[in-house]
Amino acid sequence: MKHFDVAVIGAGVVGGLIARELSRYNLNICILEAQNDVAMGATRANSGIVHAGFDAEVGSLKARFNVEGSKMMKRVTDELGVKYKNNGSLVVGFSDADRKHIEKLVARGIENGVEGVRLIEADELRAIEPNISDSAICALYAPTGAIVCPYELCIASIGNAMDNGATLKCAFKVEKIEKSDEKYIIYSENESVSADFVVNAAGIYADEIAKMVGDESFTVGARKGDYILLDRECGTMANCTIFRCPNEMGKGILVSPTVDGNLLLGPTSVNIDDKGDKSTYADGLSKIMATASENLRVRLPFGKSITSFCGLRAYGNTGDFIIRPACERFINVAGIESPGLSSAPAIAIYVAELLEAEGLRLEKKEDFNPIREPKHAFREGSIEEKNEYIRRDASYGRIICRCESISEGEILDAIRSNPPARDLDGVKRRCRAGMGRCQGGFCAPYVMELIARENGVDFASVTKCGGESAIVFSKTKGAQV
């Protein structure tokens, strides 16, 4: 059985940034992930907003880490080569009641330490956001609001942790944890590892993991959110992340450009019982279409929708983040709902401090490299820069994904570099092959061939996302594989 100094359970953006933070020190770290790939929980499907920090209750952990994390995000994403865009956030008001609410939010933002947050009137609002609805009368404007791609951040932080020595074990679903005086033994169905210290960052399953060591002090529920993603030609319809002022009808649907230039609409918000349920609801999708349109004066072209998807956000029963020891040398990082993504870099530092308080020795690693080469450098390079890549490796000259113009070289890089893509969805999240308008209809068989070749397995064993999600069953002609 392999032994580690620290085991991080859960390879989402929170677990990923914690692992990366710990990889700065002379520690033997492993990340245990139940799914076939990293970033498969709430990280895979959320709004990708770096919140400014005006929303959280004054004095809460949410408020503290949101403001701190959002300030760190630019540097973290620069180091990790992750796209980050400081596009600003708006909370748009349509009535006097909205205005009162927005005034309160501004005051709270100032108290939380959000830089530059203020109320703007219709004229300025229209200057910032020309497509805003004609009936908007005012807005909260938070210039520090930003967007990132949440799974890109997670993949990059785990990749960087691995480049600095951390071990990733996917398809490791924790079934049981045994605790002794000096260490923990963590079991999956067919493997086990031991660790001196454990971080529980298991998202919607964090309460179940905590129970395994006897901590029943909290529960985590799953809140489902449906999203619709529109084609890249729609990405310029909004500049800022646009929230509707919360009213008696709820928080409403946000409209935001993504760092890749698509337009994202959502989420709905439904608390569900089955934590495995990632299905979208027809009424959720139609609600998005109806309410997203209210924010803008231009018609949202739903015919340009390229996919809809659903994310499950973990919410704790305390109303705030739950970041505290479950027992000695075991830290829960649970209930990390919105603004979890924004808070994650600050949470990571805090968790390292908690571990140190539990007795973990944090000794700086001399050769720690905080830099991960940006994976989109080829895609965004000039012709000369691209040709430099192609001269070194001709596979960059062969385009596999037509819609997004992704080369074989980029796909191979996704399969080869940390954390390696093991399935079609993994390739898609890392280099966008199959992410475009045709959603992989053309390139999937080619990508499958590359995955099979690189891993030395048969074409038929390539999956969409691990487990039973095979793409093909057998050869034709009634022949077995």
């Binding site: 990632k278 979208t280 809809s308 000259g397 996302c465 093909v472 034709t476």
Partner: protein, 413 residues
């Protein structure tokens, strides 16, 4: 920068026919850019027969039809760059392309023929509720897996959409031992050819459920079933008619979209109806010297029509390169009444006879196609049946176009 008289983007049926026709008109310096490793485009995976009746007077399979053209391209020594993806085209007719040998390179062309074909509409465009398991493919992707790779995407199949590829795949999957439970079509009529319903569904007792759609997808990792429902006249599902069908595969054949990213990138505006460029009778787009033909211009149901349209574009490009493009001093714009959804070409600039191709919006019986110039009906034609799935054509003789300013196509009863 490399200079070439005529660059053809796409080596499928349209690109090859356009190249051959331009060569016949005396254009020597031609280059076909093809992203795949062989010529033929989508025909290589369309292994069923039914191609070539108009062009060759016999029934060929897709690869055979492609081979007839490919042989000629080889015989005529027309240069082809395979495995080469065009990244962009600009309004000055500079093409940027990429392959493993040349890297990213540019070519300046005197004329360009856009022949990139079309792609399938994916599931996202439909926003079906439910989970996101594996086992949901466009019919064309399934066709590629079965016919080119030799793998079965599944065994228990439901098909959404009755486009021709979906119908063809119903038969193909049945031949390979799968069970096709149903083909659901949202509209009250099929989008595919009548003969395909007969020989791909009826021959195998596969039910075609008109006015039905898939309302929910089930299964966590691999597809486990779909819920289908009948829809009302506004295409809204009727809850009482929900029916669960266990299946491991859902094929989508819900329409084709011209692949016009390059066209739009060149600054050519696209018709919101065809999703392709608007063209004159030589298939020249808004930009002089850039032509378009085949499925990139508008989706055809027969490859034979693609080839003949490509020949027109090839001749048009040749005349343009030679400086012989015939132009009158007027432009006739063609409008439609909505029952006629669109025409190709959308405008007439020359003085000869013109064939106008068009599609209708719904199924019409005992209808009259009318072509008028605003005041007078200049041509009318009775039809027993018109259907959206089948392209129509009328010939406008040159003498009827004298002094005409605008034309309107309509369907009347």
């Amino acid at each position: 920068m490399r200079r070439t008289d005529l660059v053809i983007i796409g080596g499928g049926p349209a690109g090859m026919a356009a190249a051959l026709s331009a060569r016949e008109q005396g254009i020597e310096d031609i280059l076909i850019l093809e992203r795949d490793s062989s010529l033929g485009g989508i025909l290589q995976q369309c292994i069923h027969n039914g191609f070539g009746l108009h062009t060759f007077g016999e029934e060929l399979t897709g690869p055979e039809y492609a081979w007839r053209y490919e042989k000629e391209v080889i015989d005529k020594k027309i240069p082809v760059l395979l495995n080469t993806m065009v990244l962009s085209v600009d309004e000055n007719k500079v093409i940027t392309a990429s392959n493993t040998e040349d890297g990213i390179f540019q070519i300046e062309a005197k004329a360009i023929i856009l022949a990139m074909g079309c792609r399938e509409r994916p599931r996202g465009a439909l926003n079906i509720a439910g989970t996101r398991p594996s086992g949901i493919y466009s019919a064309g992707m399934a066709q590629k897996l079965v016919n080119m790779k030799g793998y079965m995407p599944g065994r228990e199949v439901v098909i959404l959409g009755s486009g021709d590829i979906g119908l063809i795949m119903a038969r193909r999957m049945t031949f390979e031992g799968a069970r096709v439970h149903a083909v659901c079509e949202l509209m009250p009529y099929s989008g595919g050819l009548a003969r395909n319903i007969e020989q791909c569904l009826n021959d195998f007792d596969i039910p075609l459920k008109l006015s039905h759609t898939v309302v929910e997808i089930h299964g966590k990792e691999r597809l486990e079933g779909v819920t289908i429902a009948k829809v009302d006249e506004n295409r809204r599902p009727i809850p009482e008619t929900r029916e669960y069908i266990p299946c491991d595969t859902l094929l989508l054949s819900v329409g084709l979209i011209p692949e016009n990213e390059l066209t739009a990138g060149a600054g050519i505006s696209l018709s919101s109806i065809t999703n392709g460029a608007t063209v004159d009778e030589n298939r020249q787009t808004e930009i002089d010297g850039i032509f378009a033909c085949g499925n990139v211009l508008h989706v055809h149901d027969l490859v034979d029509f693609v080839s003949s349209e490509a020949e027109i574009a090839g001749r048009g490009a040749a005349a343009y390169i030679k400086g012989e493009a015939e132009k009158s001093d007027r432009v006739i714009n063609i409008s439609t009444d909505g029952r006629v959804r669109y025409t190709v070409p959308q405008r007439i600039v020359g003085c000869g006879d013109v064939d106008i191709y068009f599609r209708v919006a719904d199924v019409y019986r005992d209808a009259t196609i009318k072509v008028s110039d605003g005041e007078h009906v200049i041509l009318q034609k009775k039809k027993l049946k018109l259907a959206p799935g089948e392209m129509e054509c009328v010939k406008l003789p040159a003498d009827k176009l004298c002094g005409v300013e605008d034309l309107r196509f309509s369907i009347e009863f």
